[in-house]
């Protein structure tokens, strides 16, 4: 499904601020793979997501998704196939537009409507939105005409998740999407994520600082350090692995301890 070959990215080359964020990273995800990514701050996790989503073009290497070359496609073209959630719940929705309008925007971006600039959402679509919102179990289905700005962070993040997956994307990128939520809401959004991803068999990458989540969710765990993937655990090997095992495996792989308070404390 996703095939990343040997991508590199250096920011501010030739200056004192030169920073190699990705160095020769390769990664292949099979159809339906759900991989969690852990690593220290500055390991290049978010940079990897930005590279896949097209926020910048990589210096070297290639990115293929479902057989299509994304390497030089602009971000807005890639996002037809890639759903994305950020840590900040405010980033995924338009606050002054209603829940219904936000969903319509997400819904109308599908291939079927891509050239239909003047298509509108009809009664049938609205019923569909209502059913989808009911699945979130947050009472949003009765507030469809309210502006999204009135919702709480957790509700906005759940709505963003729905918008990103209502039309199943080829790849879902989750960048610590529950980190800014309170523990109860975070659990709820995480549960929804698991349900939606499993139900539609969406290929998914999730960055997390919660080692427990990293081992429990999905079928693969990746560890990143210095712009590379230093550890890739899946299958039988991953079952029964504890957080301590993971930390010691990281030490062996990266040649240093994981220096991140947020990880060690969680």
């Amino acid at each position: 499904m996703l095939e990343i070959k040997n991508i590199s990215k250096t920011f501010n080359p030739g200056t004192v601020n030169e920073k190699t964020a990705l160095s020769g990273l390769s990664l292949t995800l099979a159809d339906g793979d759900f991989a969690t990514i852990v690593g220290s701050n500055g390991a290049g996790k978010s940079t990897l997501f930005n590279a896949i989503a097209g926020d910048f073009y990589t210096d070297e290497g290639s990115i293929f998704l479902a057989g299509e070359d994304l390497t030089y496609l602009p971000a807005y073209r890639r996002s037809r196939r890639i759903g994305r959630l950020f840590q900040d719940p405010m980033r995924g929705t338009a606050p002054h537009m209603t829940i219904e309008e936000n969903l319509a925007l997400a819904y109308l971006r599908t291939a079927k409507h891509q050239k239909a600039f003047f298509s509108r959402v009809g009664k049938k679509d609205k019923d569909f939105f209502r059913d989808q919102l009911a699945k979130l179990d947050m009472g949003l289905e009765d507030r469809m005409r309210q502006p999204v700005g009135l919702l709480s962070g957790g509700q906005r993040q759940a709505l963003t998740l729905l918008m990103a997956t209502m039309v199943p994307p080829k790849l879902l990128l989750l960048d610590e999407h529950t980190a800014a939520l309170d523990p109860g809401t975070a659990d709820k959004v995480l549960k929804l994520t698991r349900e939606i991803v499993e139900e539609d068999g969406i290929t998914c990458l999730m960055i997390t600082h919660n080692m427990k989540n990293a081992l429990e969710l999905g079928n693969r765990t990746l560890m990143m350090d210095n712009g590379r993937i230093v550890l890739d655990i899946g299958g039988e090997e991953r079952k029964g692995l504890t957080v301590d095992d993971l930390l010691s495996r990281f030490r062996a792989g990266a040649g240093k301890a994981l220096d991140n308070d947020r990880i060690l404390l969680s």
Binding site: A53, R80, A94, M97, L108, F118, S119, R120
Partner: protein, 302 residues
């Protein structure tokens, strides 16, 4: 008195499309489009030239096409060439001055005894003695309905999202270059329609008639948004039209109070300045009051 009301209503509707244009560019897309002044004159000039050639109805779409092209230039400068958005509008605006002279071939083109949409309506007995108001209001109504419908389409929603959350737009499949371009083209087409109607209404087009138009329209927009507030698109669009009419009544009242018409631009500037500054001033005043109270209470403790 009736004449004053009639004139104010006519002017309110004549200039309403510019307020709608700013509603789209300024309120929705969050871009201060300085193309407006030049686009207004371009609309008037194209309309006047078409009328001289005997095509008063064709003049309206022609003017809108021409001004949409001007909006395209502004959008191209800011989305593709990295010119800051306000500067892009100013650059286009200055360029349009020469273009407008080229279009008219003179600095003031008279339509004296030429057919216009208004003479056509009058000759057909359409709208009785209110024919000017009826024709203008009908055209504006059509524009309003089309605008509201447009803002509910996929493209319209994308344009609204572009101005509402840039982060979201970048991560969704919306191409901001495209939405900004379409938004500015549509906005300027509306400005052009206003210019086209005003030229036929006044039976002349003047190279300097657009000066300060962006601020006058902004005043109408701000009045409308302050009085009607935010809500559904229909409500907001109606608010803009009402704002434009109310502004023209203020204008008429000021003229009747013997304020020289030259001073009206100052009045408009003050309305816009005060209205836009109001929330900030209110916050500042509330904070000062709170601070004074807290300091006074502290003094009592010691």
């Amino acid at each position: 008195m009736l004449t004053i009301i009639q004139t104010a209503l006519e002017a309110g509707f004549l200039y309403a499309p510019i307020a709608l244009a700013l509603f789209l560019s300024f309120s929705i897309l969050n871009i201060a489009d300085m193309t407006t002044d030049g686009a207004f004159v371009l609309g008037a000039s194209v309309s006047a030239v078409c009328c001289v050639a005997g095509h008063p109805i064709l003049a309206l779409p022609a003017a809108m096409l021409a001004t949409a092209a001007a909006g395209f230039i502004t959008a191209f400068l800011q989305t593709k060439l990295g010119v800051p958005s306000i500067l892009a509008g100013i650059v286009t605006n200055i360029g349009l001055y020469s273009i407008n002279l080229m279009v008219m071939g003179t600095s003031n083109l008279s339509l004296f005894q030429k057919a216009s949409i208004y003479t056509l309506a009058k000759d057909a007995g359409f709208g009785g003695s209110w024919y000017k108001l009826v024709v203008t209001a009908l055209l504006v109504l059509v524009v309003c309905v089309l605008l509201v419908l447009f803002l509910g389409t996929r493209l319209g929603l994308s344009i609204r999202a572009t101005g509402d959350n840039a982060d979201m737009v970048r991560a969704s499949s919306i191409n901001p270059t495209f939405t900004i371009t379409v938004g500015l083209c549509v906005a300027n087409a509306m400005t052009g329609l206003s210019g086209a109607m005003v030229a036929q209404y006044n039976t002349f087009s003047d190279i300097n008639s657009g000066t300060g138009m962006v601020v006058l329209a902004l005043a109408a927009l701000v009045i409308g948004e302050t009085l009607i507030g935010k809500g559904s698109m229909v409500r907001r669009v109606v608010g803009v039209i009402l704002g434009s009419i109310i502004y023209r009544f203020i204008y008429a009242a000021a003229l009747r109070a013997n304020v020289p018409s030259d001073y009206m631009k100052l009045v408009s500037a003050i309305i816009v300045g005060v209205a836009i500054a109001a929330p900030t001033v209110r916050r500042w005043a509330a904070f000062q009051a709170k601070k004074r109270k807290a300091l006074a209470a502290r003094k009592g403790e010691h």
